[in-house]
């Protein structure tokens, strides 16, 4: 109960902040910056597909729902030991094409979604220096949304479990139980044995559902094109956590294998040890890159089909419509594929994480199978 209130309060604070910032914006002096990241469709009708795609998959300080509907997000910047919090709507005004005209605010400039400090009375050519940007960006916002959703969903499901422990699962509980059992019995248990798995299952479940739900959120159209799991900063955190858990739970056997591989001659050990040491970093790095690349690639392909129709539409209306039909068919296909990929990437990440944990905690007797 308390937690729901907390979530509600947080969202209220956010909306207040946004509303307040909006008011500010109305009176803010207009200092037009010629930078316009969102101007992929110019007045002359010169459509730039690359800009459009990058605009959609990159992280941003505002959410573009489509048309001239933008949701400003809080900008939190740390500059010279001074914390500034304001709405991102101070950085732009929406013009009649539904595009953003950017401008500086309080000496800060949104330069291709990187906040820089350029100082007051800066000109277009002024080179600012990057500031520490703790803004609630599109991806962070989406992530918080997913986390709130996860807490609400799994709390209610857990309550159902606690309240009716001996009845058959029903409703949402029934939907989620196969996945929970799948992670526990078919993923964690084979990787490290059912006894040890108990310790790691909460992390694996959280990672699995977090990635999956983030992936799915990215597939919902008209929500601003979230690309949470395609944001390197976020997958980096997941990968670092996997690395930390693997390293901390690594037993003598695991480290022994890395620093003094058994059963090989000394000169091979000299070659092997650096490779093994590199591998403990490469493994989580690969997790991170695979997830980011897969999700981003899926978004790029779908957006490319949208862009294709628009590009042809620029040449002639007929070409636009005819290519559009093909594009839509391919997009439907891609959407199904992406739904599969959304699950698959969550599964692969969780599976590999479980296997790394399994490697790290393997008991001595399993060594004979290796060497």
């Amino acid at each position: 109960m308390n937690l729901n209130k907390l979530l509600l309060l947080t969202s209220l604070v956010f909306t207040n902040l946004l509303g307040f910032a909006q008011k500010n914006h109305a009176h803010a002096p207009v200092a037009v910056s010629p930078d316009s990241t969102a101007k992929y469709e110019h007045a002359e009708g010169d459509f730039k597909i690359g800009e459009m795609i990058m605009h959609h998959i990159s992280d941003a300080h505002q959410i573009h729902f489509g048309g001239s509907l933008y949701l400003p997000l809080p900008v939190i910047v740390l500059h010279d030991g001074h914390l500034d919090i304001f709405s991102s709507s101070n950085f732009y005004s929406v013009n009649e094409h539904g595009e953003l005209d950017f401008r500086d605010y309080k000496g800060y400039r949104n330069h291709h979604e990187m906040i820089e400090y350029v100082g007051e009375n800066a000109t277009h050519d002024t080179h600012g220096h990057t500031v520490l940007d703790f803004s609630i960006t599109k991806s962070v916002f989406g992530m918080l949304l997913i986390i709130a959703l996860m807490i609400i969903i799994f709390r209610s499901v857990a309550k159902k479990y606690s309240n009716n422990p001996n009845t058959a699962p029903s409703g949402f509980q029934n939907l989620l139980e196969p996945f929970i059992l799948f992670i526990r019995d078919d993923l964690a248990a084979p990787a490290m044995g059912p006894k040890k798995a108990e310790k790691y299952v909460p992390f694996l479940l959280t990672v699995f559902f977090f990635i999956w739900m983030c992936n799915l959120l990215g597939l919902v159209p008209f929500l601003g094109g979230f690309n949470i799991t395609g944001t390197l900063s976020i997958t980096l955190v997941l990968a670092v956590l996997v690395f930390l858990i693997t390293s901390i739970s690594g037993n003598k056997h695991y480290w022994g294998h890395i620093f003094w591989p058994p059963g090989v001659p000394v000169f091979v050990k000299v070659i092997l040890v650096p490779i093994e040491i590199m591998s403990i970093f490469i493994k989580p790095a690969v997790l991170m890159i695979r997830l980011t690349a897969n999700i981003t690639a899926g978004h790029i392909v779908i957006l490319a089909f949208v862009g294709l129709a628009l590009m042809f539409g620029q040449k002639s209306e007929l070409a636009g419509y005819s290519v559009g039909i093909g594009s839509v068919l391919f997009m439907i296909f891609m959407y199904f594929l992406e739904l599969l990929v959304a699950f698959l990437q969550a599964y692969v990440f969780t599976l590999l994480a479980a296997m790394y944990f399994g490697d790290a905690t393997q008991e001595h007797h399993a060594e004979h199978a290796h060497s």
Partner: protein, 165 residues
């Protein structure tokens, strides 16, 4: 492209806080109770299965003993029946034997009686025949002895008859 491949300190910061928070919260509020309940449920199911197996075994044991009991009862019945039958047979044959014996005794007695009666009748008849013969012979002799001639004739006839003998 720089936006895609760069790592933002702020995003890393928020992601770390948010993910660790959700991990801790869910572990406490959701995964703990869910895993606990699932484990209990699985144990409950395993226990129930075990109990069902035991009950089944008990049942089959009971059934076997029931069958044993039934077979025993059937055997008892058969035995009692056959014993009763044998006894009845014996009694019947005894009765028949006794009856036969009595009947034959009666018959024998009757035969003896008949024989005695017959002998008595025969001797009675013989006596009467002898009396009659004597009377006849007397009257005949009287008749014959009345006349000398006839007496003569008779003498000779008798002499003839007896003489031959």
């Amino acid at each position: 492209m720089e936006g895609l491949l760069s790592v933002s300190v702020g995003t890393v910061f928020w992601a770390s806080i948010a993910f660790i928070a959700v991990l801790v919260l869910l572990k406490k509020m959701a995964w703990g109770p869910i895993m606990q309940t699932l484990k209990e449920r699985e144990e409950g199911i395993a226990d129930a299965l075990r109990k069902a197996d035991a009950a089944k075994e008990e049942m089959s044991k009971l059934q076997a003993s029931n069958e044993d009991l039934l077979r025993e009862a059937r055997n008892d019945r058969d035995r009692i029946m056959s014993e009763a039958k044998a006894m009845a047979d014996q009694m019947r044959s005894e009765a028949v034997g006794k009856a036969q014996k009595e009947a034959s005794a009666i018959i024998a007695k009757a035969q003896v009686e008949i024989e005695t009666q017959k002998q008595a009748a025969i001797s009675e008849l013989k006596n009467q025949v002898a009396d009659l013969s004597i009377q006849l012979a007397e009257s005949l002799l009287k008749n014959a002895l009345t006349d000398a001639e006839k007496q003569q004739a008779l003498n000779s006839a008798l002499i003839n008859e007896f003489g031959k003998n």
